[in-house]
Symmetry: C2
DNA sequence: GTCGATGCAAAAACTTTGCATATTC
DNA sequence: GAATATGCAAAGTTTTTGCATCGAC
């Protein structure tokens, strides 16, 4: 049966689920490697694609050549990219009404917001 | 002098400037090729990176492995990705106040919004 | 002629695929 | 033992770099 959960998949899924924000494939590998030492990057990508297809996770495009992955089902939220440490944080509470900027005849399914700036840790670190 | 404008750079810059929305590197090459037949993709990438550094254009992350580039200085606007034709449209008019979702101690520089949906042309095309 | 820009091809980086081995039931 | 998943390595992509040549002053 395909619902079989190997230790690799478990480690990868948990890495994504437990993260505070979206992670890159190599970050996922690094974290999951702590539980499954010889975990290959191919397995990480294969698992990511499986989880994307099943809808358990989704991609978050952050910048050129920087996609990260996060679990679905965390509720409506958006992202904050710190330009100092390059970490992405989840942010809850969305101002809402995007509809006013949608052109006539267009149909909106969803929206995502990415805020750029400097996180509290980096602001404190650097006087 | 470094302000020298070759026909390649001119064609690439114009392709980006004249586009109705952000373009991918290969799309830029395709358009610019109409004026400069043997234009290589390396020149496109080199020019993109130059224009990014000088601040004339900026990257728009759309999805995994899909970054597009647009001119800066079009005023504040956001993007609409049509999941049917995969085109990205500019949208003007921004609802504004993102500040309420920014965590304490974080500092916002900028924000970008990507709306997903179906464009008017695709809605009309498919009953 | 000097300087920088280009095209091509090679290299690097990132992602996917093939295949023999390993794991689960 | 059958079926699926894994690791490794090879193949695909995408982006960058090296280098000989070309073009502008």
């Amino acid at each position: 049966m395909s619902a079989h959960q190997t230790k690799q998949r478990k480690a990868i899924t948990e890495a994504i689920q437990n993260a505070q924000g979206p992670l890159r494939p190599t970050e996922i590998q690094l974290i999951a490697c702590q539980n499954v030492p010889r975990l290959g990057i191919a397995t990480v990508y294969r698992t990511i694609n499986m989880l994307l297809e099943s809808g358990e996770i989704q991609a978050v495009p952050i910048a050129a050549n920087d996609v990260r992955y996060e679990p679905t089902g965390r509720g409506h939220h958006h992202h904050f990219l710190c330009h100092s440490c390059n970490k992405v944080y989840d942010m809850h509470g969305c101002s809402g009404h995007m509809s006013k900027m949608i052109p006539d005849g267009f149909e909106m399914d969803d929206h995502e917001i990415l805020i750029h700036g400097k996180c509290a840790a980096c602001k404190k670190a650097k006087k």
